[in-house]
Amino acid sequence: MKTEVRHESDVTVVTVDGSVDALTAPDLARAIIDEIAEGRVDLVVDLTGVEFMSSAGLRTLLGAVKESRSHGGDLRIASTNPGVDKVLKMSGFHTIAKVFTSHSDAVASFGS
């Protein structure tokens, strides 16, 4: 798994590639928590390059949503992989956080 962090105006985009499992999820958590600690509390996690995500990845995302909101921000997802979407839906994640099919839509949603 690889993560890349960049800033698009006031939104932090964390782009993830590869597989998010119990081995790699802690690295994703660290990347997100580091941003929130720096005061960048509006985040998009771009999962469009993720080929596999387990409950370990889901747990990380749920924790990150909680953390960003506790600091007055929000965390939104971009996802296109049907398997990743299924994991999000099975857990009810869609009822908790906003999920978009492109990272540009997810970023733009913070301005609306």
């Binding site: 499992d21 119990a22 387990s54 409950s55 747990r59 924790g63 049907p82 099975m90 908790i96």
Partner: protein, 150 residues
């Protein structure tokens, strides 16, 4: 006759990708295995292996995780065997997927995802180890001749 494949790895999180690749290698081109089914199989195996690695072998030296894959004409069976601590599946709470973010437990989805991804889950503890047996049917027909009547 069923085709049988086996992979054995040490119970480390680094082994998870090997188990997922094993499933992909042997199941990807099978008739009836769609991309969705392939993901289901990889997810179920990943979650089961993660539970074994993080809970089964907790507080002890990591032993082996054995995955046996049997390919039948209309179903696949995946048997995961370990030699660590056993558990009681019926004592594992089902996560509340409708809970709000404030009320929600972050974890506890592993067994739930397994049950959602395959058709049958059996768990057996014997002196030869703990075995979780997962069955996935590849067609709508579930009247395999080996199934016991309800």
């Amino acid at each position: 006759m069923a085709n049988h494949h086996r992979i054995t790895r040490a119970a480390y999180l680094e082994s998870l990708s090997d188990f997922r690749e094993f499933i992909k290698e042997h199941c990807k081109d099978l008739p009836g295995v769609t991309d969705e089914i392939l993901y289901d199989l990889q997810l179920a195996v990943d979650e089961a292996c993660t539970n074994i690695i993080t809970h089964g072998y907790a507080d002890m030296s990591p032993g082996s995780v054995i995955l046996d894959l049997e390919l039948h004409p209309h179903k696949l069976t995946l048997s995961l065997t370990d030699f660590g601590h056993s558990f009681e599946p019926s004592n594992t709470p089902t996560p509340d997927v409708s809970a709000s973010i404030e009320e929600r437990e972050l974890g506890g989805f592993g067994l739930f995802f397994i049950s959602q991804s395959v058709d049958e889950v059996d768990y057996e503890v014997t002196e030869d180890g703990n075995t979780m047996r997962l069955t996935k049917y590849l067609t709508e027909e579930k009247n395999d001749e080996n199934r016991s009547p309800a």
